[in-house]
Symmetry: C2
Amino acid sequence: MVVESLEDLRKSIDNIDNAIVAMLAERFKVTNRVGYLKASHGLPAKDGDREALQHARIQELSRQYGLDPELASCVLDQVISKVVVNHEQIAKAI
Amino acid sequence: MVVESLEDLRKSIDNIDNAIVAMLAERFKVTNRVGYLKASHGLPAKDGDREALQHARIQELSRQYGLDPELASCVLDQVISKVVVNHEQIAKAI
């Protein structure tokens, strides 16, 4: 049996959070490129069909990984809401 | 100039989401270990001081990475709320 301290575990949590922040930053870099592409083709900022597919995919993946699918969907909702605001701002600026 | 298609960009977003789901799943594995450790030492499920430090750290990191610090904090809030519920359930079960 491996004995772990609270400090050790919290360091692992912080390391994982670093990775999540990096992934989210990269995700917004990519979605901003999507925003410019959509705006330049007159496509709407929000795409309900794509969002439904993303939620279904993330929920299925969460079940495979042992992550609460509802939590994953809530996080995705928050991220997508911010993405849509960014896309609307990009469309106005072009 | 590199021409990117919406399909290409969406594949990158999906890849990043896979990584985020994997990181979140791993994060809950670690926080569950924290939950058992806390419960076995009679420590409370919620730790306001630790949460304040986490928010400050994540916001600073977000600024460095060009991620909206408010979005990062909202995601952290959602995750921590679920962690606290899990810790309370672990304490009851022990």
